[in-house]
């Protein structure tokens, strides 16, 4: 298999397998959570909690200022990743081909800046995780693994765009494969937080609301 064949496999069957695994994985994880059920509430509640549940889903995205360095890095990385995935022109073309919906991408030089910032933030967060005793004691292999899985698409994408290190075709193939690896790992690792955060914030916020605690 040469570079081009590898790229074609990654773009075709590879992507299909990864998408299927991710889709079923997410469904399974949601089922694993929801099937456990929520205990009945017999207390005379002050409110049904729906409003506070919904508020909590949004509000816990707001920064907690005591950790401003860590939080800033986390913001840059999460927002940066979102911008890169959805507003890098080749990615928008990819979404057009798959879903038939098109929106215009950002200029390449902007995406380049965002990518460098995101990579820097991720490195900073990794350093904190390793050097800060509180975070080091909390961290497991899984935490480092998802860091690597998230970092690979970023770095290979950056290298491919700038034609660095490896042949472009091979680097692009590796970039797509690394994304597929991330997709496959998503439902089975710490990356589940990318969709379960809605549930966890909902449960807490609505419980708070029932008791009259503002989210």
């Amino acid at each position: 298999m040469n570079e081009l064949e590898l790229l074609n496999w990654a773009r075709g069957p590879g992507l299909a397998y990864a998408s299927i695994i991710m889709f079923f994985g997410i469904s399974l994880r949601l089922l694993e959570i929801l099937s456990l059920g929520r205990p009945a509430e017999y207390a005379d509640t002050r409110d049904d909690g729906v409003k506070d549940g919904l508020i909590m889903i949004v509000k816990r995205s707001l920064p907690e200022t005591r950790h401003w360095k860590y939080i800033t890095a986390s913001y840059i990385f999460h927002i940066g990743l979102f911008i890169i995935v959805f507003f890098f022109t080749p990615h928008t073309q990819f979404f057009r081909d798959i879903f038939g919906v098109f929106w215009s991408g950002w200029p390449n030089y902007l995406i380049d800046v965002v990518t460098v910032l995101s990579i820097a933030s991720m490195l900073y967060m990794l350093i904190i995780r390793i050097t800060d005793p509180t975070r080091r004691i909390l961290s497991s292999t899984g935490d480092y693994l998802v860091w690597i899985l998230t970092f690979l698409p970023l770095i290979t994408g950056y290298l491919a765009f700038h034609r660095l290190m490896l042949d472009y075709t091979l680097m692009l193939a590796l970039h797509i494969l690394s994304v597929e690896l991330l997709m496959i790992a998503l439902p089975f690792s710490k990356l589940t937080h990318s969709f379960t955060f809605i549930l966890s914030r909902w449960y807490t916020g609505s419980n708070f609301g029932r008791r009259g605690i503002k989210s």
Binding site: I33, A40, T134, K190, H193, T196, L199, S200, Y203, T204
Partner: protein, 423 residues
């Protein structure tokens, strides 16, 4: 209650519900919960990071309730939870946590961490690892009807003393009245001025009320321990008392955890709604204020602040009534730097104050409260929880601070308008 490690594990498996599964799925080990916990901020010790307190439960969840965890277990990639892990968690779940729930206010994933710590305690208690002091408190409460273990006649004597002091008749077991009032042991034995204060306020407001000989204790060690049978038994006594006296409203006293147990957990622990409503005493007083039935005279001019008890304010949703009432009788009320739902814990609740070996740690973490009080330069701290009051008094004495601690009901009683305006 029979206990064993296996039973503890099985109980935890039963307690893992959809919220908990979503919490563990959403935790990224970011460590932000650490900065919200006094035991972490005042010691700097990473082991006190709140989410670490439930690690055995997380592993049970992963290994039993997720496909990926089961595969990892099958491949021998994960370590099963052992009895030693449970032993090691006792310190973190019981001896260095007041279940104040401040961690649950900051988690970016929205995880209600203390909800999980409470379940972790239940697992440990079923494994026979509950702190002996809490077990003893539970036995006393079940046998004598009071957390401190005093008999009914002691309670009656305190009621008689208050009657004598106020000249107002105080009912025990009077049916068909507006309210059944519960007290915590600490209020009966240490802060008994509350009885006279209530008698005067209710008499003036035209409220009819009674104590019950079946259930006067509001405290519930079953809740701190995570012994649901004990918790349910104490709740059932209150339900029986209210039902037999045909009373539609029950008052939980100035005690945070009692409010949590009776107001919010009770119906869930016994598995059915109550045939009556439950209020914190401060909620009732605020209602009387709104109706114009609580009239006060004069104002405290001394600079004072309010300490919000975690289980009533942060976890129970009672935040405004105490402020409405304080503003009635004070000119110089200042808020602590963090207040209401984000107030720092006193360090003594959740059963901590009963655990002897936790005392040095309790004294150490009081530093945060000292700092909060010091920066306000106040002469008085008012609160609405007997445990907070106790902890504050001890902390203030240990640190040679010149600050007085008062219960809110008592402050109001001191300012009660003695004569009607028309008289």
């Amino acid at each position: 209650m029979s206990t064993s490690f296996i039973q503890g594990v099985n109980v935890l498996k039963k307690l893992i519900d959809a919220p908990i599964a979503s919490y563990f799925s959403s935790c990224t080990n970011c460590g932000i919960c650490a900065q919200a916990c006094i035991f972490y901020t005042e010691t700097g010790d990473a082991k006190y990071t709140p989410i670490r307190r439930v690690e055995p439960m997380r592993r049970i969840w992963e290994q039993e309730f997720t496909l990926s965890g089961r595969v990892k277990k099958w491949l021998g990639l994960s370590r099963p939870v052992t009895a030693q892990d449970f032993h090691d968690t006792v310190e973190l779940a019981f001896e260095s946590c007041t279940t104040c729930g401040r961690c649950s206010m900051v988690c970016p994933a929205g995880n209600d961490i203390v909800y999980m710590i409470r379940k972790m305690r239940e697992g440990l208690t079923n494994a026979g690892l509950a702190p002996p002091s809490l077990k003893a408190a539970a036995v006393r409460t079940l046998e004598k009807g009071s957390v401190m273990g005093f008999p009914m006649k002691t309670f009656e004597a305190q009621v008689k003393a208050a009657e004598k002091e106020t000249g107002i008749k105080i009912n025990i077991d009077q049916p068909d009245v507006d309210y059944l009032v519960l007290l915590s042991s600490a209020e009966v034995m240490q802060f008994n001025e509350i009885i006279a204060a209530l008698a005067q306020i209710f008499d003036k407001a035209g409220v009819t009320w009674t104590f019950s000989s079946l259930a006067h204790e509001a405290g519930n060690p079953g809740m701190h321990m995570g012994a649901s049978e004990v918790e349910a038994e104490m709740i059932n006594r209150i339900v029986d008392a209210a039902e037999s006296l045909n009373i539609k409203n029950v008052i939980s006293p100035e005690c945070g955890h009692a409010y949590m147990a009776i107001r919010w957990e009770g119906p869930n622990v016994i598995g059915r709604p109550y045939p009556f409503k439950v209020y914190h005493i401060i909620e009732v007083l605020d209602k009387l204020r709104q109706e114009g039935r609580l009239q006060t005279t004069g104002k405290e001019s001394e600079r004072l602040t309010f300490h919000d008890p975690c289980q009533a304010a942060r976890r129970g949703g009672v935040n405004e009534p105490q402020r409405n009432l304080l503003n009635m009788v004070t000119d110089n009320f200042v808020e602590m730097s963090d207040n209401m739902a984000c107030n720092w814990c006193c360090g003594g609740g959740g059963g901590m104050n009963t655990i002897e070996k936790a005392e040095p740690l309790m004294k150490k973490v009081f530093h945060r409260k000292k700092q909060q009080i010091d920066e306000l330069n106040v002469t008085t701290v008012v609160t609405m929880c007997a445990t907070c009051r106790n902890t504050l008094e001890e902390g203030i004495e240990d640190n040679n601070m010149d600050v007085e601690v008062l219960g809110l009901t008592e402050v109001l009683a001191n300012h009660l308008l003695k004569e009607n305006k028309n008289d």
